[in-house]
């Protein structure tokens, strides 16, 4: 009898912990796939040889890194360059119809956040990987997760509950990541430095 009581307790505890650690975070986010699959690795490989700035250029004011528009992709992709089904679909549905892809932006900040790439790249000399991680070498675009309550992308908001996948959950676009880096470098970190 005694053993069974302990077993029940252990099962209950595991269920509660499992619910708290995995089920709640899982239920918190709405998952959706990108409209088109895209391989950064192919584009940054030696065969193609593009760098981040070739497609993600700063605007005049230095503000946005920016997701490339169709006009950036179209010159190379008027005809299929490879054999993938996604590329074929991209050409047929977007390039041929001159329709912009509605990319889901992992790094989209909340509306009360002010962020400009210019000071971080030009003055601080940060590399893209510092905040965006190894995104530039990934084979496919991962599932986009959006917080159901705040509607912010998972990459920019909140602590991660379990830091088991630092490369994925700690790429450095959350407020405490910004704050930590500012603190370490002795840069101002008062509210209005980043908020508007």
């Amino acid at each position: 009898m005694k053993n069974r009581a302990w077993l029940t307790f252990a099962v209950g505890l595991l269920a509660a912990l499992g619910g708290g650690w995995f089920a709640v975070p899982w239920a918190m986010y709405r998952r959706s796939e990108q409209p088109v699959q895209f391989s950064h690795r192919v584009h940054t490989s030696e065969a193609v040889g593009l760098s981040c700035q070739d497609c993600h250029a700063l605007s005049d004011g230095g503000k946005f890194g920016g997701i490339p528009r169709l006009e950036t992709c179209a010159p190379c992709h008027a005809e299929p360059q490879g054999k993938s089904a996604d590329e074929k679909r991209f050409i047929n549905e977007y390039v041929a119809k001159n329709r912009e892809v509605q990319w889901l932006v992992y790094a989209r900040q909340p509306e009360n956040v002010y962020f400009s790439h210019a000071p971080h790249i030009r003055l601080a000399g940060l590399k893209c990987e510092q905040c965006h991680g190894q995104h530039g070498t990934t084979d496919r675009l991962r599932t986009f997760e959006r917080n159901r309550i705040s509607t912010y992308p998972r990459d920019v908001e909140g602590y991660s509950l379990v830091r088991l996948q630092p490369s994925r959950w700690n790429e450095g676009m959350k407020m405490d990541d910004c704050s930590r880096c500012h603190h370490e470098r002795g840069v101002e970190e008062s509210c209005l430095t980043c908020h508007k």
Binding site: D60, Y114, A118, P119, L192
Partner: protein, 256 residues
Amino acid sequence: MNTAHKPKARYGMVIDLDRCNGCGGCAAACAVENNVPPAAPKASDRTGLTWMRIYRAENGRSFPENRTAFFPISCQHCGAHTPCVSVCPQNAVDINPETGVVSQIPPRCLGCRYCMTACPFHARYFNWSDPEWPRDMENALNPDVSVRMRGVVEKCNFCHSRWQAAVAKAAANGKREIDPADYVPACVEACPTEAIAFGNLDDPRSEVSRQSRAPNAFRLLAKLGTDPKVYYRSDRDWVRRMGDTDVAYESEASRG
């Protein structure tokens, strides 16, 4: 809490009251720049939102000696013992160490309104309802300023988004110092009589610094020792005396 640290720059204003004719252009430009919604249907002088508010002061004489002056009053950006900073239980108010601007972070505000009680200048406003714009006017909102929700306090921040834009522009050119011409608040830009000077008070060559040291310059409620960064100027003695009385309770020219 010690609020008397020294910022890198101290942005401030000098408003020449002998030039101000009370037109309200500054208040209108401010509202447009900072996404301040039109007054709610039931809003009163007490419950409206007016980051820049114009008060009318009379010299109390009868005709023909009667005279009027207009006091445009925004947040005075107190540099010492800043009352709102020391009372905020949420740390939602601080002094930006780069600009000396007293900030207000609405998402962090819990709406207790202690800061409004503490502010000697009545320069803080509470959102009694969610903002509402007439149809299609939402398309004209300024994307550089976040919209505030019901239940939080807001106030002037010297058009801080313009400072952020100026910093980004300088950085894009590889510079750490901003061009002073790039950072001008909306009220300063809009004033038709050029009554408002704006800039770094710590830069002795700046126009604002020169004017703040003029013999006819004064600050509101200087007796409180909060070191406001908004100065006023007037050659009229009775107007200067107003600076240390409770101007906010005088009759008002503008409604919220």
